[in-house]
Structure formats: C-alpha cells, structure tokens
C-alpha cells in the first residue's frame, strides 16, 4: 500500500476519527444551533429587528468565520496532549491522511453543517414573527449583492479559507490555547502588515497614504479629498486570488508542521 495515500486506509482513519469524536462534534453542533436560536430570538423579540436577507448574510458570514475558526482551533488538540500525541503519531496512517481527515472535518463538513443548520434556524426564525411590510425571505448564497463580481458563497468561502488556513496552522503549531495564540499573532501580523504597507506606499507614492490592508486599494488625502487608487478591472478577483494563495500556503505549512510534530 502507498505510504502517501491509500483510499482503504483513509476510510478506516476517517471512520475511526468519526467514532472517537462524534459525541463532541454533535455537542458542538447543538451549541451552534442553540446560539443561532437564542441570538436570533433575542434580535427578533428583544430589540425588534427583522432578519432581512442582508442581515442574514452578515450573520451567516460572522457565524461561519467565528464558529469555524473556533472549531478548527481544536482539531489538532490531541497533538498537544502528551498522552494522546503518541497514539496519534504512531498510528499507521500517513501524515497526509491524518491531515486530510482534520481538513475535511474543519472545512468541508463544518461548512456544510453551519450552512444547513443556519438555513434551518433562519427558516424557523423568519416565520416566527412577522414584521409589517417585510415578507419572510431567506438570503441566497448564490446571489451577488450590490456591485460585487462574485456570488456571496464564493467570497465567504475564500475568506473562510484564509482564516481557516491560518487557524489550522496554529492548531498544529501550538500545544495549547490554539485559538488565543493564533488570533493574537494574527492581529499583530495584521498591524505589522498595515504599518509596513503604509511605509511602502508612502515611499512609492511620495505621499502620506492612509494605512490599509495588503491586497486592497491605496488611499490618500489630497486637497481635503480622499483619493482612492484601485485596479481598473477584476480588483475583487485579484484580491481573492491573493487570499487563496495565502490560504494554500498556510495549508501546506500546516501539513509540513504535522510531519515535523514530535511526541
């Protein structure tokens, strides 16, 4: 059998992982649905907010990005536990198979579960109380709101890929407090990148530019007006491609970190 990937061995590993963790995953699912129901009910009844499609879209994006990253941060927790790590590393399955099981659970399966449960809860919540002049409507993941080039699902998936890849790397890199440590370093890195970006733009444009995220536009003040320089065409496409490239780099780094892991 291949030392890199064997479908039979991978299936065995996937089943083993599912059997060992299904209780925790089901509980996480129940908590997620509980948060959605409680949060949605609070919005509807306590602050009398209607869940229109745009609001639903924002809630969905936040829920996926936050819930997904929190869940992903625990996916390699056993590799940080001195008792469990030996069992995990010495199990005769390839690093790629072990990696793939974690990736599938924290990315594909999580995305499907969050999306399905979100739509289920929203379908319930938008019908539980009717607001005048507002017909109950679920947001469509395939729609393109405003001037966006791509459907929401595409943008959400790219953003989730980026955040997932970073937290996925943090989950295998750190032994404990994976979410806090990764988030801490992430925000520091963002701050450093914004400062570095500004310094670079200042040098390139010889102007006092406004600090911004890498792979976005350049802005500066001129005669009291904000001037924004952007790519003429496909600006979203290039940004999303850059985010995906970063995501793939972090996923690859996580794989090699898993290979390097020691007990």
């Amino acid at each position: 059998m291949s030392n890199f990937f064997s479908p039979a061995r991978f299936s065995r590993l996937f089943i083993k992982h599912s059997q060992e963790h299904y209780a925790r995953y089901l509980m996480s699912m129940v908590v997620l649905v509980g948060v959605m129901v409680m949060g949605g009910s609070f919005l509807i009844y306590m602050i009398n907010t209607s869940l229109d499609p745009v609001f639903q879209m924002l809630l969905y994006a936040w829920l996926l990005l936050l819930g997904g990253t929190i869940f992903t941060s625990t996916i390699f927790a056993e590799y940080g536990n001195s008792k469990k790590v030996i069992t995990k590393l010495s199990l005769p399955a390839s690093h790629f198979e072990k990696y793939l099981v974690a990736w599938l659970y924290s990315f594909v399966i999580l995305f499907i579960m969050v999306t399905v449960s979100f739509y289920g809860v929203m379908a319930f919540l938008i019908n539980v109380k009717h607001f005048p002049q507002q017909r109950p409507e679920l947001f469509n993941l395939l729609q393109r709101p405003g001037a966006l080039q791509f459907p929401i699902i595409f943008i959400v998936l790219v953003l989730y890929s980026l955040l997932h890849s970073i937290i996925f790397y943090g989950a295998i890199h750190f032994k404990s407090l994976h979410f806090i440590k990764t988030a801490f370093l992430f925000f520091i890195a963002i701050a450093v990148m914004m400062c570095g970006n500004k310094l670079l733009y200042d040098l390139l444009f010889k102007k006092d530019t406004i600090a911004g995220l890498p792979f976005t536009n350049v802005a500066y003040l001129e005669k009291g007006r904000v001037v924004v320089i952007n790519l003429a065409d496909n600006k979203e496409f290039y940004s999303l491609i850059m985010y995906m490239v970063l995501a793939v780099m972090f996923w690859i780094a996580a794989y090699f970190r898993l290979k390097e892991k020691q007990a």
Partner: protein
C-alpha cells in the same frame, strides 16, 4: 533490526540528552533498558519509534529511517507509552476500529491476552482503573504482532499478579522475527524476563550485554562477610552483604539487576570495563 548511529538528541533549548549514541538491536531478543529517572530512556525509545527526531545521526529499522514515520515503518512498530491513552470504547470496539491499521494483528491473540490479564472485553476502557487500561493496551500491543514492540515502563500501575502475568506473556510472544524493548526504572520487574541488558547513563549506553554474558563475567551473591573476596561492588544490610564479584570460577549465578544497576550508576568503572570487554 534497529540500528542507531551517532545519534544526538536534545529537546529545544535544552542540553543534549544523547551525544553520538550508537546501538544495535536484533530480532529474537527482549531488551531491558535501564536508567535513572531523567536519563532519557523514554526519549531514546521515542527516537527508535520515529516519535522524536534526532538532531544528528540516524535511527534505522530494517535499513529504513524511522524519522519520516512512513506507514510501512509504523506498521512494524508498536509503542506502548508510560501514560497510556485509551478512548471511550470497550476493548472490542477499540479493536474493531484500530486493529485494521496493523496488517499482522491477531484478534484471537488479543482476546487471549485480555483474558490472561483479567481485562473485561466489554467494559469501557476509560472508565476502568489505570492498571486495567494499561493491561488492555498491553494486550493490544502484543496482538499487533509488529516486529518491534517498544514498551515504556509497562509495569507502572500493574498489581503484582498482573506483573507476573505480564512477564509470562512477554516471554510467550517472543519469536525470531520480533524484537521487544522494555524500559523501566523498576529494575526488579524485569528479573528473569530480559535476555539482553541495556543501561543508559550520562548520555550513553554504558552496557549492552546479553544476560548470559553478564553472568559469565560477574558473580552475584549474598555473603555474611566479604573479607578476602575482593568484591567489585557491595551493599551491606543488617543480615549481611550483597556483592558483585568478578566471575573467575565459571560458575553461573542469578543476576541481581538492582545491585548491578546501582553499581553502574554509582560510577563503578571496573564493572563497566568488564562488561564492555569482548
């Protein structure tokens, strides 16, 4: 089978635990790895199993490096950790979802070993005592039939009848194709079990000798008085003296592992020289 050459290992930002360590282990033997707490026994075993990567040197299993943890290598190694982890399964369920990873696993052997060690196959493992958990994992490890079986402090947590049963089982599973390495600091637990003695002390393997060669070179005995005997090492108690003497008569005695271990870690150079001599 296992060939360790010029192995240097140390944990991050800590001094080296081993420096240019060399060791060869052969099939068909039960090796007893002795060392003080903190000598690096567990770390050496982890290096053998590919669970820790050396800073320098290499560790080969049948000519292949263990460091990459390739599946074909992992299928040939079972590592029983000192602190075992058991999932919330019965032994039967655990076997159903884990045994398939080991091509030579024998279910019938597993249930035989469970019975011999008095472990209930229908009891959820993580609800059992530590000793029962350990015995279940020992049974699993033995049943994998891997060519290299590494056990780190396997008798920790076992009661006296279980230790006896453990020794019997280990002796019964040894074949010409199998190599068993057992580390412990409870030296007496390995009495009458190991056939080759390894002593790890101060970053190196001070002793690597078959037990029958140890008794060819040394005589162990209890004496009322050792005056005139020229003992190499002795420990006095209220009844008399336990002593190690050079075997000049050719008569065999029973190895007192604890006494020998104490002599070596106390820095008894004469004994080490005798055991190192061809």
């Amino acid at each position: 089978m296992i060939e360790i050459s010029d192995l240097s290992f140390g944990y991050n930002k800590q001094p080296l635990l081993f420096n240019n360590l060399n060791l060869q282990l052969e099939q068909g033997h039960i090796y007893g790895l002795l060392g003080k707490n903190g000598a690096g026994k567990s770390t050496l075993l982890k290096n053998m199993a590919g669970l820790a990567y050396p800073k320098k040197g290499k560790c080969l299993l049948n000519g292949n490096s263990v460091s990459g943890r390739s599946v074909s290598i992992l299928e040939e190694i079972y590592f029983l950790a000192e602190d075992v982890y058991v999932p919330s399964f019965t032994p039967a369920k655990f076997v159903a979802n884990t045994a398939g990873f080991y091509p030579k696993f024998s279910k019938s052997d597993f249930y035989t070993y469970l019975k011999a060690l008095d472990v209930d196959e229908n009891a959820v493992m993580d609800k059992q005592s530590f000793g029962q958990q350990k015995k279940a994992m020992i049974a699993f490890g033995l049943a994998t039939n891997t060519s290299l079986l590494i056990m780190d402090e396997p008798t920790n947590g076992l009661d006296i009848p279980s230790k006896v049963q453990f020794r019997k089982l280990i002796a019964s599973v040894l074949t010409d194709e199998r190599c068993i390495v057992i580390s412990t600091h409870q030296v007496r637990d390995l009495d009458s079990l190991i056939d080759t003695l390894l002593i790890l002390h101060e970053k190196e393997i001070l002793v690597n000798r078959p037990m029958d060669e140890v008794v060819e070179k040394l005589t162990f005995g209890f004496y009322a008085d050792t005056e005139g005997l020229k003992p190499l090492y002795e420990e006095k108690d209220m009844r008399g003296t336990n002593a190690i003497l050079e075997n000049t008569t050719g008569r065999f005695s029973k190895v007192d592992l604890e006494l020998l271990f104490n002599a070596i870690i106390c820095g008894n150079k004469k004994i080490v020289e005798l055991l190192k001599a061809p």
